[in-house]
């Protein structure tokens, strides 16, 4: 649709015509703001905590653990230099032998969601599966933060308690 529109505009005499091919879905999936009657519908990116500690594959658990604990967390995400999420370190893995390398003990490929995921969709799924937290990334896998279910539930409840002028439920 945007391709045909761009071509049509060019036929009308405009010379600097571009087409943002990935469209609005891509914009939203990167956690960027929108305008409109549903702009304030709560999404995962709004409640994700970006302060989650991170580490890299080659680090020793004994170096990572004190950093995580000092930051007040009990988990750490394993990321690349470009902040792409590769794995997660928590529980037994975080308590592993201090000389163990992160690469050897991390959870591979943890589940992630996009920042535009609607809380009204994801919160019930997390409740059904007893999921306490979930990682939020861009479509390219870059870390945005971690969303905790209690924060998401509270944000959703506050939104649902607010009178609205749209038919969003």
């Amino acid at each position: 649709m945007s391709a045909r529109a761009a071509w049509r505009i060019e036929t009308l005499g405009f010379t600097r015509v571009y087409r943002y091919r990935p469209g609005k879905a891509d914009w939203l999936a990167n956690g960027l703001p929108v305008e409109g009657t549903q702009a304030n519908v709560p999404r995962a990116g709004q409640v994700a905590r970006p302060d989650i500690p991170t580490c890299q594959l080659g680090e020793r658990v004994g170096d990572v653990r004190p950093r995580v604990t000092a930051a007040g967390w009990d988990m750490c995400l394993v990321v690349t230099d470009d902040n792409v999420v590769l794995g997660r370190l928590r529980g037994k893995a975080l308590q592993a032998n201090p000389t163990a390398i992160v690469d050897e003990v991390m959870e591979e490929g943890p589940t992630t969601i996009r920042p535009d995921t609607l809380l009204v969709d994801i919160v019930p799924r997390m409740q059904e599966r007893h999921v306490v937290s979930i990682i939020v990334t861009t479509p390219g896998g870059r870390l945005i933060g971690v969303m905790f279910r209690p924060a998401a539930e509270a944000r959703l409840a506050a939104f649902q308690a607010t009178p609205k002028d749209t038919n969003y439920s």
Binding site: M1, R4, E10, R16, V17, K24, E35
Partner: protein, 67 residues
């Protein structure tokens, strides 16, 4: 030929006073659109509806996704 761009190029063009044209139907635009975008639904795109667009600025069309 219109130039196909990705998000990073879009973000470079926006500060250059680019005009964002949402070509989705009006009800979809009303619900949600990129900041500052105007709405000219594809079915209404013609010489008349584009007459007010400045010819010296970048014009960027978008819809929902890769359509």
């Amino acid at each position: 030929m219109p130039t196909t761009i990705q998000l990073d190029e879009l973000q470079d063009l926006i500060p250059q006073a680019a005009i964002l044209v949402d070509v989705l139907p009006a009800d979809e635009y009303t619900r949600e659109h990129l900041p500052g975008a105007i709405n000219i639904p594809l079915k209404t795109l013609n010489r008349s509806t584009t007459a007010a667009l400045p010819s010296d600025r970048p014009i960027i069309t978008y819809c929902h996704d890769f359509q």
